[in-house]
C-alpha cells in the first residue's frame, strides 16, 4: 500500500551511526536486552500483518521503566526513530520496524504489579497479556472487560495503542473506557502520569488522546485498568436467517427493543461454511446468515433478556432459534465465531481482514456492494461482523504467491474501506491504521484535519521520531495518492455527513 521511502518527509534519518547507537545503548541496557546482529533481528521483522516486513537497526528489550527512559533519551539525542512493540499481534502493521530506527520491545515488562479488589483496579506492566489480567482477577470474582479475539496473546500496551475492542464492546466499551491511568514517557524521556486513580483527571483528557494513538505520541510503561464483577450468568441465542438483509434488520430490532446485549455478532454463509469444516460448532449451514446474541448479568436479568431477545428474533423472521442450554453449549456457539479467521485461512493460504465500521442501517447496502466487488475482483470474501457496533470484518481470501491475486486483494480491500467512508463510516474500527490503511486516511480526512493531527504529533514529538510513516499520512502522500485515485477530488456523496 505504498512504501514510506517514496515519501521523503516520512523518512527520518538518525544523526548517529548504528555503531554509535549500539555503543550508547549497551551502556544502559543489560547484554541480553540489546540485539543488533542481523540473525537476531530477523524474528522482529513484522507483526501480525505479515505481508509487510522490515529489519530494524537494533532491538532493545528493556527490563524496567528506567531503562526505557534511558533508551529514549539516547534515541532522542541521536534522532533515532523508535517503534515500540507489545506482543506483535497487531493486524495493521503498527509495530512494523523502521529500517533506520530502533525497535523497542516491551515484552520483558510482564508483571501484574497490583490488584486492588475493593477499588476494582489492576496496575500492570505494558507487556502483560490481556487474558492474564482477567486470569489474575478471577480469584476476586473480577475481570477485565475488553477481549479482542487475540486476548490470549496480545499485550495490554498494544490494546492501549490501538484502543482495542472485542465482542463485548457494545455493552462494556473499548480500551479507552476501561483504563484510568497511564505512566507515559514522551520521546525525549519525560515521564508523566495521564489520568489517575479517580475517574477523571485535571486539564485536558490526555488519557483519551493517548489511547489509540498507535505509538506515535509516547511510550506507555504502566497501565491501571478497571476491573468489573464477573457476571453470574451468560447465555447466548443463535438465530438463523434465510436472507442476510433480514438478519441485518434483526440487529436494529434488538436495539430498538431497548436491549443492549453483551455481544451481538453476525456471520454470513461463507463464514459459517468455513468454520463448520474446522470446528463443528453446529451452525445451520443452509442459513444465509446467523446471529449470535449474548446476554449476561444476574440470573434474573439474563432470563428476562433472553426471553425478550427470542421474541424479537422470531418477529424478525428467524428460521431457527437455539438458546444455549449450558456453558458447554454457549462456548460451542462462540467457538465458531472465534475460529472464523483461522478457518478462512484453511480455504486459501492468505486473507486480508478488513476492519471498517458503518452505521448499522447501511449494513444491507454494504453487504450487497461487497458481494458485487467480489465478482469484480474475482476473489472470495467471507463476512463476520461485530453487528451491534456496525464493525465489519470482511475476510478477503487470496494466494499471496500469485502477484496478480495479491494486487487484486489489496484493491478489493481498499474499495471496501472507501465504501465504508462513503456510507458515513470509518476505515478502521479497532485494528488501527498502521501502514495498512494509511492511504485510505486520505479518503477519510481532509487537509485541515490532517494538519490538526500533525500539530498534535508535533506537541508530543517535535522531530517525528516515534513510529514514522504510520497512522497519519503526510500531505505529500495524500497528494500523490489522490492523483492516482479516481474517487479523490470529487465528493461522491456531498450530502452524506463525512464524520
Amino acid at each position: 500500500m505504498g512504501k514510506p521511502e517514496a515519501f521523503p518527509s516520512e523518512t527520518v534519518r538518525p544523526t548517529i551511526s548504528k555503531q554509535a547507537l549500539v555503543d550508547r545503548l549497551s551502556a544502559v541496557l543489560p547484554k541480553t536486552s540489546l540485539l543488533h546482529a542481523p540473525e537476531d533481528l530477523k524474528p522482529f521483522e513484522c507483526d501480525g500483518l505479515t505481508a509487510y516486513r522490515k529489519v530494524p537497526l537494533a532491538v532493545a528489550l528493556p527490563e524496567d521503566e528506567a531503562q526505557i527512559r534511558a533508551v529514549l533519551k539516547i534515541c532522542h539525542e541521536g534522532r533515532v526513530p523508535v517503534v515500540f512493540r507489545g506482543a506483535g499481534t497487531g493486524l495493521s502493521g503498527g509495530a512494523l520496524p523502521y529500517e533506520h530506527g530502533l525497535l523497542l520491545g516491551l515484552s520483558k515488562l510482564k508483571r501484574i504489579l497490583e490488584i486492588d479488589p475493593l477499588a476494582r483496579v489492576a496496575r500492570v506492566q505494558p507487556g502483560v497479556r490481556n487474558a492474564a489480567i482477567s486470569e489474575a482477577a478471577a480469584a476476586y470474582g473480577l475481570y477485565y472487560a475488553p477481549d479482542p479475539a487475540s486476548h490470549v496473546a496480545c499485550s495490554i500496551v498494544g490494546n492501549v495503542a490501538e484502543n482495542s475492542g472485542g465482542v463485548h464492546g457494545l455493552k462494556y466499551g473499548l480500551t479507552v473506557h476501561n483504563i484510568i491511568r497511564l505512566r507515559f514517557i514522551t520521546v525525549d524521556g519525560t515521564l508523566m502520569e495521564l489520568g489517575g486513580d479517580g475517574l477523571d483527571s485535571a486539564g485536558y483528557d490526555l488519557l483519551a488522546l493517548a489511547t489509540g494513538s498507535e505509538g506515535l505520541l509516547g511510550v506507555v510503561t504502566e497501565i491501571t485498568v478497571k476491573l468489573l464483577p464477573k457476571p453470574v450468568k451468560a447465555q447466548v441465542v443463535l438465530a438463523a436467517f434465510d436472507d442476510i438483509e433480514k438478519a441485518g434488520r434483526a440487529v436494529g430490532d434488538i436495539i430498538a427493543a431497548g436491549i443492549v446485549p453483551a455481544g451481538l455478532e453476525m456471520m454470513d454463509q461463507k463464514a459459517t461454511a468455513a468454520v463448520e469444516q474446522f470446528v463443528r460448532a453446529g451452525y445451520p449451514l443452509d442459513a444465509q446468515a446467523i446471529l449470535l446474541c449474548e446476554s449476561d448479568g444476574t440470573e434474573e436479568e439474563v432470563a428476562a433478556e433472553i426471553a425478550r431477545v427470542t421474541e424479537v428474533l422470531k418477529t424478525a423472521g428467524a428460521t431457527e432459534i437455539r438458546v444455549s442450554r449450558d456453558e458447554a453449549e454457549r462456548l460451542r456457539f462462540w467457538a465458531g465465531r472465534k475460529a472464523a479467521f483461522p478457518a478462512v485461512g484453511r480455504i486459501l493460504p492468505d486473507y486480508f481482514c478488513m476492519d471498517g465500521t458503518i452505521p448499522k442501517k447501511q449494513l444491507p447496502l454494504v453487504l450487497k456492494r461487497i458481494a458485487e466487488l467480489s465478482d469484480r475482483f474475482n476473489l472470495q470474501c467471507a463476512n463476520v461482523f461485530h453487528a451491534g457496533d456496525g464493525n465489519l470484518h470482511p475476510l478477503i481470501m487470496f494466494d499471496a504467491n500469485d502477484d496478480a491475486q495479491l494486487k487484486r486483494a489489496e484493491e478489493y480491500g481498499a474499495a471496501i474501506l472507501e465504501l465504508c467512508v462513503e456510507v458515513g463510516g470509518t476505515i478502521t474500527g479497532e485494528h488501527g491504521v498502521g501502514v495498512e490503511k494509511i492511504n485510505q486516511m486520505c479518503v477519510q480526512f481532509r487537509t485541515a484535519e490532517l494538519n490538526a493531527f500533525h500539530s498534535v504529533k508535533h506537541a508530543f514529538d517535535e522531530f517525528g521520531l516515534l513510529n514514522p510513516g504510520k497512522a497519519v499520512p503526510t500531505l505529500q502522500r495524500c497528494a500523490e495518492f489522490g492523483a492516482m485515485h479516481v474517487h479523490r477530488g470529487q465528493e461522491k456523496f456531498p450530502d452524506l455527513p463525512r464524520f
Binding site: 475493593l118 477499588a119 515521564l191 489517575g196 479517580g198 477523571d200 436495539i255 434474573e300 488501527g432 490538526a452
Partner: protein, 349 residues
C-alpha cells in the same frame, strides 16, 4: 433552527485579525466554573437542532446550541437517554456546553463519563476551518481521538458545531434505597457492592446515610433490593438535586471543592462532605488551603478542583510541571494564537 456556520467563521476570523480572544458560550450555565472568563462572547445558541437521531443506531447528532433539555426530551420519547446523566446547572444549558464542560452526573461510575459517549465532533479551529473528527459509529480508531479531547476542554481548543454521542435505552425500572451509615463504613460498603454483579446505577453518601439507586429489569432490581436492604426512597427528585447541586448540602457552599480520587480512600475529614461515584468523587463544602487539598488529593491517587469559589485567581487545579508543559504545547498546537478562552482552565494557557 440555523444551519449556517458562516457567522461563526467571520467572528473567529475577525477576532484572529485583531488578536482579541473569544469566549465561547451557550447559555452561560457553567460561567461559574474556571479560573477566569476572558474575551468577546461567541454565542452558540443560534446554531440549533438535532441533525440526526436514529434510535436503532444508538447515536444522536445535534448542533452545539441545541438546548440540552430538548435533546433529553427527544431521547425520552424513544425510551433512550444520555447515560452520563449530565448536570445542567441552569435552565438554558446547551448540548455544546454539556460536552465542552464534560461534566457527568450520578450514573457516571456505572455507565461512563461524557467523554466516554462522544463519538465525533464537527468543529471550527482558530483559522475558522470546518473540521470533523471521529464519526457517528461506535468504533473508530482512524486518527487521534480529538473528539474525546474536546470533552472537558471548555471551548479552549476550538468551537464545537455538532457533536455525535452514543445513547442508551432507559432502564425499565429504577428504585432508590436509603441506609443509615457512617462515612467510613459507607465508603467500604459501596465499594463492596460495586464489586458484586448488582444493578447499581448510582450511590451517594450525605447526611449520615447512603442512597443507592438500582436500575434495570424489574426482577433484577427487586432481587438486588432484597440483597441490599434499607428503606425505599419514594422521592424521585433526590438524584436530580444531587446532579444539579440543588441538594441542601450545596446551598451554603461558597467554596466547593471537588476531589476525584481512588474510591476506597477513607474519610478525608476536610469538612462537610458529599460522596458520589462509589467513593471516587468527594464534594467538600469548606474554604480550605489549596495547597493542602491538592496534596491530599494527590496522595489519594487523584486530583482536586476548586469547583465554586469567589476567588479562583490562583487556579482551580494543580498540574505537575511536565503535564503543564505538555498542556501548553497542545494548546499552542491547536490554537496557536491563544484565541479561545485563555485562562479558563489554567492561569497559564
Amino acid at each position: 433552527m440555523s444551519e449556517t456556520i458562516q457567522p461563526f467563521q467571520e467572528q473567529i476570523k475577525a477576532a484572529a485579525a485583531t488578536r482579541r480572544p473569544l469566549r465561547i458560550r451557550g447559555s452561560g450555565s457553567k460561567d461559574f466554573y474556571g479560573v477566569r472568563l476572558e474575551g468577546e462572547i461567541l454565542d452558540t445558541r443560534a446554531h440549533t437542532g438535532i441533525v440526526e437521531y436514529e434510535p436503532t443506531e444508538l447515536v444522536l447528532t445535534a448542533r452545539a446550541g441545541t438546548p440540552l433539555a430538548e435533546i433529553e426530551h427527544a431521547l425520552a420519547q424513544r425510551g433512550q437517554m444520555l447515560a452520563f446523566e449530565p448536570p445542567h446547572f441552569g435552565d438554558g444549558a446547551t448540548f455544546g456546553g454539556c460536552i465542552a464542560a464534560g461534566f457527568s452526573g450520578p450514573r457516571r461510575a456505572a455507565a461512563g463519563a461524557a467523554r466516554d459517549f462522544v463519538l465525533g465532533v464537527r468543529m471550527l479551529n482558530a483559522a475558522g476551518e470546518d473540521l470533523r473528527f471521529g464519526g457517528q459509529v461506535m468504533k473508530n480508531v482512524a486518527g487521534y481521538d480529538l473528539s474525546r479531547l474536546m470533552a472537558g476542554s471548555f471551548g479552549t481548543l476550538g468551537l464545537l458545531l455538532e457533536i455525535s454521542v452514543k445513547v442508551l435505552p432507559r432502564p425499565q425500572r429504577e428504585r432508590t434505597l436509603r441506609l443509615a451509615m457512617t462515612e467510613e463504613k459507607a465508603i467500604e460498603q459501596v465499594n463492596r457492592w460495586a464489586g458484586e454483579p448488582l444493578p447499581i446505577s448510582a450511590t451517594c453518601l450525605v447526611d449520615g446515610a447512603v442512597y443507592v439507586r438500582l436500575s434495570g429489569a424489574e426482577p433484577a432490581v427487586e432481587a438486588a433490593r432484597a440483597r441490599i436492604g434499607g428503606d425505599d426512597v419514594e422521592d424521585a427528585g433526590f438524584w436530580r438535586t444531587v446532579r444539579e447541586q440543588a441538594h441542601p448540602f450545596f446551598a451554603s457552599a461558597d467554596n466547593l471543592w471537588r476531589l476525584s480520587i481512588r474510591s476506597t480512600v477513607g474519610p478525608l475529614n476536610l469538612g462537610p462532605t458529599l460522596i458520589e461515584w462509589n467513593g471516587s468523587l468527594r464534594w467538600v463544602a469548606a474554604a480550605l488551603s489549596p495547597k493542602k487539598v491538592h496534596e491530599m488529593a494527590q496522595k489519594a491517587g487523584g486530583h482536586a478542583t476548586l469547583f465554586r469559589a469567589q476567588d479562583k485567581s490562583g487556579g482551580i487545579q494543580q498540574f505537575s510541571p511536565e503535564l503543564l508543559a505538555l498542556h501548553k504545547r497542545l494548546k499552542q498546537a491547536l490554537d496557536p494564537e491563544g484565541l479561545f478562552g485563555p485562562g479558563r482552565i489554567h492561569p497559564e494557557f
